[in-house]
Point group: C2
Chain length 393, copies 2
């Protein structure tokens, strides 16, 4: 990983499990042992993603929205949720479990709320529609609260909170996901990683952007330990009997993440409660699929509809005490200035690791992609007959 992410859990780029077809360029680079990471300009990465969706017969506006969403994730250092997922979205379009050109529909509306049917469109199309509606409502009555059923994976949760922040509002976003987490005391997974994000603007271009799964860690972290042949800490994942394990291989095979907090003795039931809270705000409120009823999602795409539920909230801080942004800036600095246990590791605020990564990308003039990722991109270019991704150096 290019950055140790403090606030957002890092995920490794998973190599595609299907048999690869490869391209000549990638093969040559690999055979020369030259390709560990390659730099791709942000604009070129977006061009490539947009072209993939256009080739998959998604209209211009929606293809651009997908490009902006996925490359923003990579730009911020969340490689698991960017280009890494491109193939999965394309496969879902191929299998007709996602409709790339349909628009969301408002099913019910009040001055502060709206219930939306995403009609199995692209997650970002549903999400942007819902957050923009929430923003308009927040500007009119102080709060906008929208909830969608019939949605698909919507990328990083913070994409939507950033949208609210650009309007000077506080944004909140949550989504349910495929079952992967075992509720406290359960042998089986029943909830997803169910992430939540809250973003708030602060003075002097500062901000607070929390974007976190309600599980202890992501599967990718377990796979990384397995590859290194190293144990995992207690509280990350369970074995088949439903108890915490330190064996990375057993944990990876079992596929049951533990909630934030880990075991019951370290209050894992709170993380479980938060995962359930997200499910209630998303699946239960919207009437989408929920909990173990949600399909699995793999790199090969899925034959079933996802029918995810999502929640988008915008709040105008100016409705409350004047000076919100100044106080948030002061709060952030108070936290950053706390005496660290290890002088090498300063106290951070949610969103700081992403800011550091974005600065690094700006400085380098592009995003560093791993060879496995670029191989998948080359395969996709060949399959969709589009111009392969171009490297800056």
């Amino acid at each position: 990983m290019p950055l140790h992410c403090l606030i957002r859990q890092t995920r490794i780029i998973l190599a595609p499990t299907r048999k690869s077809t490869g391209t000549h360029i990638v093969r040559r680079l690999l055979s020369q042992g030259k390709m560990e990471e390659k730099l791709v300009a942000v604009i070129e990465a977006k061009r490539f993603v947009r072209d993939c969706f256009l080739a998959a017969k998604v209209k211009e506006e929606n293809s651009q929205a997908m490009a902006d969403l996925l490359i923003e994730a990579d730009f911020r250092g969340h490689f698991s949720h960017g280009m890494n997922r491109l193939e999965m979205y394309i496969n879902d379009l191929d299998k007709k479990t996602t409709n790339g050109n349909i628009e969301p529909l408002i099913m019910n509306e009040t001055p502060a709320t709206a219930w939306i049917d995403g009609r199995h469109g692209l997650g970002v199309v549903v999400g942007n529609f819902c957050m923009d509606l929430a923003i308009r409502k927040a500007k009119a009555v102080g709060v906008g609260w929208t909830c969608a059923k019939g949605s698909n994976h919507y990328g990083i949760a913070s994409w939507y909170t950033l949208r609210a922040m650009k309007e000077g509002l506080i944004g909140i976003s949550m989504t349910n996901t495929s079952p992967l987490m075992s509720p406290t005391r359960s042998k089986e997974a029943a909830l997803g990683t169910n992430p939540l994000s809250l973003g708030a603007p602060a003075a002097n271009d500062d901000s607070f952007i929390l974007d976190m799964a309600t599980t202890s860690v992501a599967v990718g972290k377990i796979e990384m330990q397995k590859r290194k042949n190293e144990p995992i800490p207690m509280g990350w994942a369970q074995d088949p009997s439903g108890h915490a394990t330190t064996d990375a291989s057993v944990a990876f095979e079992t596929g049951c993440l533990m909630p934030l907090g880990g075991e019951e003795v370290t209050s894992g039931y709170k993380g479980y409660g938060l995962g359930a809270l997200v499910e209630i705000m998303c699946g239960i409120m919207s009437g989408s699929n929920y909990a173990s009823n949600i399909r699995k999602w793999t790199h090969a795409g899925a034959d079933q509809l996802a029918n995810l539920g999502q929640c988008f909230i915008a709040v105008d801080p100016n409705c409350f005490a004047p000076g919100f942004e100044d106080r948030l800036g002061d709060f952030n600095q108070l936290l950053r200035n706390l005496p660290p246990s290890d002088p090498e590791k300063p106290v951070l605020v949610a969103g700081d690791p992403e800011k550091a990564h974005m600065a690094k990308v700006e400085q380098a003039g592009g995003i560093n992609y791993h060879e496995n990722q670029l191989k998948t991109c080359a395969d996709l270019a060949e399959r969709l007959k589009i111009k392969p991704i171009q490297f800056t150096k």
Copy 2:
């Protein structure tokens, strides 16, 4: 503790540290070695609390509100937040850092929001006012979001979410609290236990009521291990160097709780992020004190104003997909029916331990109070010259 609380962290009843004056009844019972726990009827417990506040010159309505709040906590098994805190509230009134008779003031209002000045009144008076206003707004426009500065400790967070649930709404409530938790990587505490609660009604008298601190555990749990001379698990608390410790005495002396998730390797930064989220929704939004600026609160009361910030949200689930309560009931049952790792320990839903405790109280005909608690009550009765608490048996 009368119940192992799964969802809400349990806290032991702390013995008052000041020199006790005691009463004849309590002394006699103690000397006879008869008093471990005594049963007090709910109505009598409320009578006693109300009489204490009346004696402290708090008006009838507000005294009753305090009685209802504190005894609801005990009824639900959250003894740390009930009668256990009575003396602290009384001492704050004595020291004039709480005004028992002042009413909250609306400073700004939109159809969906309100900013309130609690004017250093009783936390429950501010909280009830804010949640009732949020409920009215939710009924009118779908969501009500209120935020108060100038408040005091408001008891259990779920008291306010229960208020929204009684109206068929989803309730959310949060408060900032005195600094006690070390942000990830920090040697010093800067955030409180910053609890949050979400309550939602389900069909057939079922419900989901999450009420959790964003720290890993409460100080009381550490004190319990110290008394038993047993270690604490990694991830509960820090030593003076800012590292996790398993030494209960060191942890108790240091007084730096770790956030939910514990150490950085087990994603404690997410719990820290959640604690900060609560602070932003409460202190930063309302313009109250925040983070390390909040005073400490002890059994002796405090000389400084608390000026806490609190947030109350009500949402009408009927604005979204019809059938919310049925789906939530189904979701709860899906979770409860998961195969348990240990057949003796079924999977629970947030609020289930409280339901079990309430049933136990109903069956016993009262609440079982610990001898230390009853001693404090006897002292208070003597000090305030009111009728001592009467036991059922």
